[in-house]
Symmetry: C2
Subunit: 125 residues, 2 copies
Amino acid sequence: MKIAEVAQQFDISSDTLRYYERIGLLRPVARNASGIREYGESDLARIEFIKCLRGAGVSIEALTAYMRLLDEGDGTLAERKAILEQQRGLIQQRIDEMQAGLARLDYKIAHYEDLIVATEQKMQQ
Amino acid sequence: MKIAEVAQQFDISSDTLRYYERIGLLRPVARNASGIREYGESDLARIEFIKCLRGAGVSIEALTAYMRLLDEGDGTLAERKAILEQQRGLIQQRIDEMQAGLARLDYKIAHYEDLIVATEQKMQQ
DNA sequence: ATATCCCTTGGAGTGCACTCTAAGTCAAGG
DNA sequence: CCTTGACTTAGAGTGCACTCCAAGGGATAT
């Protein structure tokens, strides 16, 4: 699979895919005879995982650390699990903060509904 | 209330508070005879609101637009409500994405638990 | 053969939201 | 009187995560 196809499939720009590779988030991708990237199954799986966790707000740094350990093999299982658990905690914290914001907005919006009704009634007098 | 006290109360740096004022997110704060900022009740209320929504990921731009309308008065009620509703939607979307990431991590973490147990058992043979 | 198009690279530029620096002012304490 | 420490300003710098640019290579379509 060439870079543009991968980009389309995951809705990630080609630039971003090359960037991920350059900073070591993706392993060097195989090339064809013309030097063009040919993404394989395992690349796609990693990209999908990265996309999911980036979408959840996990940092490039954490993801890179995880991927590096993944390449190092079985000896890093516990360390990898620790990273995932830490990131899980961070995501949960952020969700909690967002839920608080959401609740606040809901309260405000309800208040605005009342205010707008009141203002409209005043207009009619 | 002086800037350092406000900063401590809301866990926002003095730099950030001055920055918010400079970009028009906060109205110009009253000064004492020496030119030092004296934050009033309404400033504090706005800062608290800003802190809550920034924490939820609402952009400076959206908050600034909202605050500007707030200063313009009652005629902007509907417009303000629209901003809040839009931001509510954005927050909800981001929460959904994060929930997906969380689910993915939970799955992975459970998988790692199994893998680590398996690896330890292999070691003992 | 020439145009089109996607690919390549290294490096520069962008947007957001701060965060810091330098140089200076002012009130209070020793 | 002098030091200390919190405050002031304009403007520069930072970190993150892309995003774009210029210049060039190679396969395909007319």
